[in-house]
């Protein structure tokens, strides 16, 4: 019973604050995610438009 009380007290004490280590972890993770998202572009099936005004050179 006493043990449970201690745990609750600890949670209240931190008040949702994160440690320096946790902050650094989130910071680095966010940075990496941002970098990867810039590198990865969504693959869109693009239809090319056939050009006007051209000819095959082997045609007379």
């Amino acid at each position: 019973m006493n043990e449970k009380v201690k745990v609750e007290a600890k949670v209240k004490e931190t008040g949702g604050k994160i440690t320096r280590r946790e902050f650094l972890g989130f910071f680095l993770f966010g940075g990496l995610l941002s970098l990867f998202s810039k590198k990865i572009k969504p693959v869109v099936q693009e239809k090319s438009k056939k050009a006007m005004f051209w000819r095959k050179t082997d045609e007379a």
Binding site: S48, K49, K50, M52, W54, K56
Partner: protein, 324 residues
């Protein structure tokens, strides 16, 4: 074998092996078929005053929905938009804007006109052509700002849907076009004649660059050619050069040079000659008959307009242009 193609859109007429890109960077031979790489992918989209194109005799004080894609048929050393004109389509940030969406956006922003501009619209010919056809159905005007470096056949086909063209006549010597732009003068002159012949409203811009094309004899020759082949009603804009891109070592054009060029053009007989990139009364439109002030401009802003029903409000003479 049999996969080589030749583009016939502009006078460069690139011959392309399979997998090769055109000189304008906007077309590619894929397996023996030529494709446009920029269709529906503008890299620049904006709503501009029509005066910015510049059009001074075409629906003044209205706005133009303006689009451009990457690429250009020329490589002018003074290009003001070289970041997109000399880029490949994959190097620019492009919107996904198909032709019907361009027209819808133009209507949404209450633009009377769609302008194909910033880079050379010839490179996105298919996109421009399809957009212009749709725009016409919705009573939206089509205009382009072009260097005129396009073959006659595609230009005539496009002209059916084009209401006005602002053409850069960059100089009046083959040497300038060859050394500074990487092109030729003759096809540009031919395009001007074709546009006039097709009934497209025409305005010409000449960027005056110190030491390169500021010879008054040549400017006079150019004006005489315009009068002889296009008539004295074609508005001519002399624009002031500022150091840019590969011509940073040159000074800005002295205002006196622009003034001299304008005087030369008017002495030769051109009725409407303007100065650009410089604030002066030469931005205004004056009646060629009674000399009254018709349109007063401050930059791209129209302060007053005394043209009513296409006529001078003071003497009643017809003023060339498209006014409604």
């Amino acid at each position: 074998m049999g996969k080589t193609v030749q583009c016939e859109l502009c006078p460069n007429e690139c011959v392309l092996e399979n997998g090769q890109h055109s000189r304008c960077r906007a077309r590619m031979n894929k397996g023996g078929v030529l494709y446009s790489l920029v269709y529906g992918k503008p890299c620049a989209v904006a709503v501009d005053p029509i005066e910015k194109k510049p059009f001074f005799h075409f629906l003044p004080a209205t706005t133009a929905f303006s689009i451009a894609t990457a690429g250009c048929v020329l490589g002018c050393k003074f290009c003001q938009n070289w970041q997109i004109s000399q880029a490949k389509p994959e190097e620019t940030d492009n919107y996904n804007l198909p032709p019907d969406e361009v027209v819808r956006q133009a209507m949404f922003y209450n633009c009377r006109t769609i302008t194909y501009t910033y880079t050379e619209p010839t490179v996105f010919y298919e996109y421009m052509y399809d957009t212009a056809r749709i725009a016409k159905k919705f009573n939206i005007k089509n205009t382009m700002h072009t260097c005129g470096y396009i073959n006659e056949k595609p230009l005539r086909k496009l002209s059916k849907y084009m209401d006005a063209a602002a053409v850069d006549l960059k100089a009046f010597t083959e040497d300038f076009y060859s050394r500074i732009c990487g092109g030729r003068l003759k096809p540009v002159l031919n395009s001007l004649v074709v546009l006039k012949d097709e009934g497209v409203w025409l305005e010409i811009t000449n960027l005056v660059i110190p030491t390169l094309n500021d010879d008054m004899k040549k400017i006079k020759e150019m004006c005489q050619w315009i009068i002889k082949n296009l008539g004295p009603d074609v508005p001519l804009h002399f624009s002031r050069f500022f150091p840019h891109y590969k011509l940073k070592e040159l000074p800005p054009t002295p205002p006196e040079t622009i003034r001299d060029a304008r005087n030369t053009a008017m002495e030769v007989g051109l009725k409407y000659v303007y100065s650009g990139n410089i604030r002066s009364e030469a931005e205004n439109t004056y009646c060629h008959k009674c000399k009254s002030l018709l349109i007063e401009r401050i930059g791209y802003f129209v302060k007053q307009n005394n043209i009513s029903g296409g006529k001078c409000r003071f003497c009643g003479v017809n003023i060339p242009g498209r006014w409604s």
